[in-house]
């Protein structure tokens, strides 16, 4: 008897391992849930790193439009007494930041060796956002029409799973406040509701940050890609659907790819650049969203709670039967 049981355990452990491995990765692929579609009236932004001059007018405008506090890194406090907003990265107090790629002598803009380039960081308004998928209390929501991803601090419990899980490192919790909130670009929803342009695009002097419908911005991207590098082009500024005075500049030598449409299920904010996206600190990501994998597995295990209910019934039966046996033995 004891031997049998031992053999059984052995077989269970090793057999389980073998069977599990055999059924490994391909089988897991079957769990993956289908991708999400771009919403019908998706609004988006096109950020063209080659047009960005690093003036940070957008950082300032974003702070003002969203009532965010001034940020002053401690190591800069010698010359900055707290009046000059100088964020170095996204944080609980900064929704939008300009960062620089620097290499060697930094002689020329938009060049990888001995050059430099700018990049803007904020929420990319993913088509299949991890932050929405992971939030336990629906504090992160994606608008089914416009696709804007918003955050509701009244719902949020501050678990910071969205901070951990966002593949672009966007949401940030304010660690220096006992009643801190999650900070994240919400595409200036409050301005868009009034028919206005998001603040960062509105103030951008060169059209590096351009607001519009995702479809229209795609056409704009194709126009830029179709031009010979060096030819003069009238770059639209602010809002693609408005007729603002344009910014005239030669078309740069883009790397022939757009960052966003093929990253982690796609995004509504897209990037153009003349240096590799990874150099700009934009992470290399697979085409499929991670939420497809995690939700797929979670939904398979918990579909309508059938599996847990069956398991519970089985466990209850054995517990009940064994308890009765024990009582009989004792009697």
């Amino acid at each position: 008897m004891a031997l049998n049981r031992r053999d059984f355990l052995k077989c269970a452990a090793l057999g389980g391992a073998a069977a599990g491995t055999a059924a490994s990765t391909e089988a897991a692929a079957a769990f993956i849930r289908p991708p999400k579609e771009m919403p019908p009236k998706a609004v988006g932004m096109l950020y063209d790193s080659t047009l960005c001059i690093g003036c940070r007018a957008c950082v300032d405008a974003c702070k003002e439009a969203n009532d965010m506090p001034v940020e002053m890194p401690v190591h800069l406090s010698d010359w900055n007494e707290g009046t000059w907003d100088s964020p170095e990265d996204l944080s609980g107090r900064t929704l939008n930041v300009i960062k620089a790629y620097r290499h060697g002598t930094m002689e020329a803009k938009d060049r990888e060796t001995d050059g430099y380039a700018f990049v803007k960081r904020h929420c990319l308004h993913c088509v299949d956002p991890s932050c929405v998928s992971v939030c336990p209390v629906s504090a992160m929501r994606k608008d089914p029409e416009t696709g804007i991803v918003t955050h509701d601090p009244d719902a949020c419990i501050g678990c910071r799973y969205c901070v951990y899980g966002c593949p672009f490192g966007v949401p940030q919790y304010d660690l220096d406040n006992p009643f801190g909130k999650i900070a994240k670009c919400q595409f200036c929803t409050h301005l868009q509701e009034k028919g206005q342009t998001p603040a960062c695009c509105d103030v951008c002097p060169t059209g590096a940050s351009l607001f519009g419908l995702v479809d229209d911005l795609k056409e704009e991207t194709e126009r830029r890609f179709a031009m010979q590098p060096g030819t003069l082009y009238q770059f639209p500024r602010g809002n693609l659907s408005e007729d603002r005075p344009r910014h005239e500049a030669p078309v740069p030598k883009y790397i022939p790819a757009v960052y966003g449409p093929n990253e982690a299920g796609g995004t509504q904010v897209h990037y153009l650049s003349a240096v590799a996206f990874e150099k700009l600190g934009l992470p290399k990501l697979p085409k499929r969203s991670f939420a497809q994998v995690s939700e797929g597995i979670q939904h398979t295990l918990y579909k309508n709670l059938i599996a847990p209910a069956l398991l519970l019934a089985g466990l209850a039966f054995f517990a009940w039967r064994n308890a009765r046996k024990r009582d009989q033995d004792e009697a």
Binding site: L9, K10, A13, L14, G16, A17, A18, G20, T21, S24, T25, A28, S91, S130, S133, V134, P136, V137, A139, D154, A155, C156, I157, G158, C159, R160, Y161, Y164, G165, P167, G169, Q172, Y173, L175, D176, P178, F179, I182, G281, P283, L285, P286, F290, A291, V293, S294, E295, I297, Q298, L301, L311, L312, L315, A316, F318, A319, W320, N322, A323, R326
Partner: protein, 386 residues
């Protein structure tokens, strides 16, 4: 008849050990107060790249695994009907009770907007697709179930045998829940990482994360029972539970052999075993984990190993460290933030974690000394005040 099956340990309550533990709890309380007055940043080294640190990973993810003794033993005793282990059940439940209750306390300390915690229970905020939602509700429910499962100890202490016997009729339901809920949330602690994708090293990231976390939780549950039974019988001079623990260890040994085999085979199949030879920190941690998992397998599966109390104890400790390291690595070491941030816990942050553990031990000692938890023994051989 069963009334005398368990009895409180007749020992002094205020011992030097208890006072040291209480002091550690007081230090932690000071830093917790600081956290509530000035924010998480005032106490922890959390930053923009590391939103989760020691408190989440050690106090909650590892802490609840240490609390899996009750779960692991219930599976064995009540579901697989291995009655010979029944005597280990109540102390195991007690460990689980504190492991989980204090993990719940740690959650409240760590949550950035703790005062809205109840939003988790409001249906219009609920988000069932979120693994965090499932973990939170299951852990909450399990804490309640643990208190109910353990309540006979209180009821016996206060002579409420009628209530106890009434409860006993429904106990099978709570026992079933006490196995189901940890199965769900311990595996989900692995699922929590599924969304991390390429931010985690492939040495840890697999679609099998839920299974890996469930098996390591069970292993840590059994290891904690072996650890606790050995420490308690040695400290209080009680007869050793060695024979029964040796039996238990055979099963654990095979389970972990299967785990290791699966881990390597799965890595090899998906072609990611090369990362184990990359010579970086991830690879180093991977091999340390593997060695620590192998040690108990070797000890538990050789007769000489499991019959020696020392070796078996060593095996249990190695297994606890291995399981903890596996979790720590998966959540923090294997993870690369999008921007260049690094994290190492601050001293105050660690002191809070130490304080939570101290409180756990303190309450455990207090309970075994005042409530009928331990299996009733013949009077100890040489009574010695500890």
């Amino acid at each position: 008849m069963a009334t005398a099956a368990h009895q409180p340990l007749a020992r002094r309550i205020f011992t030097p050990t208890m006072i040291v533990l209480a002091a550690l709890v007081a230090v932690a309380a000071y830093f917790v107060a600081t956290r509530f007055m000035y924010g998480l940043g005032a106490v922890t080294n959390l930053n923009q790249g590391y939103p989760w640190g020691m408190w989440v990973v050690v106090d909650i993810v590892i802490g609840t695994a240490f609390g899996c003794g009750g779960f692991a033993m219930a599976l064995l005793v009540y579901i697989f009907n291995r009655n010979q282990y029944h005597r280990l059940m109540r102390p195991a439940l007690l460990g689980g009770l504190f492991g989980y209750t204090l993990a719940g306390v740690a959650v409240m300390i760590d949550l950035g907007r703790y005062w809205q915690f109840y939003n988790l229970l409001l249906p219009w905020y609920a988000q069932p697709s979120s693994v965090m939602f499932e973990v939170a509700l299951c852990v909450l429910a399990y804490v309640i179930v643990l208190w109910i499962e353990f309540s006979p100890a209180f009821l016996e202490r206060f002579g409420l045998y009628k209530v106890r016997d009434f409860l006993r009729r429904f106990m099978f339901l709570f026992i079933a829940l006490g196995v189901l809920l940890p199965t769900m949330h311990q595996s989900s602690l692995g699922s929590l990482l599924l969304v991390m994708g390429s931010q985690l090293s492939p040495l840890w990231y697999t679609t099998w994360l839920p299974l890996m976390f469930l098996v390591t939780a069970l292993a840590m549950g059994y290891a904690v029972v072996m650890f606790e039974a050995t420490v308690v019988s040695n400290t209080f001079n009680l007869p050793s539970e060695q024979p029964i623990l040796a039996k238990l260890s055979i099963m654990v040994g095979w389970m972990m052999a299967g785990f290791l085999l699966f881990r390597f085979a799965e890595l090899a199949l998906r072609g990611d075993l090369v990362h184990a030879f990359a010579g970086d920190l991830n690879a180093l941690m991977f091999w340390i984990e593997t060695a620590l998992f192998l040690l108990p397998v070797a000890i538990f599966l050789t007769p000489g190993g499991r019959e020696s109390q020392r070796l078996m104890f060593l095996g249990a400790v190695a297994l606890l460290v291995a399981g903890s390291l596996y979790r720590l690595d998966a959540y923090l070491v294997a993870y690369t933030p999008v921007q260049n941030y690094t994290y190492f816990p601050s001293v105050p942050e660690l002191m809070v974690t130490v304080g939570v553990v101290a409180l756990e031990i303190l309450l455990y000692l207090l309970f075994v000394k005042t409530l009928p938890v331990l299996h009733a023994h013949e009077p100890a051989r040489t009574p010695k005040a500890r």
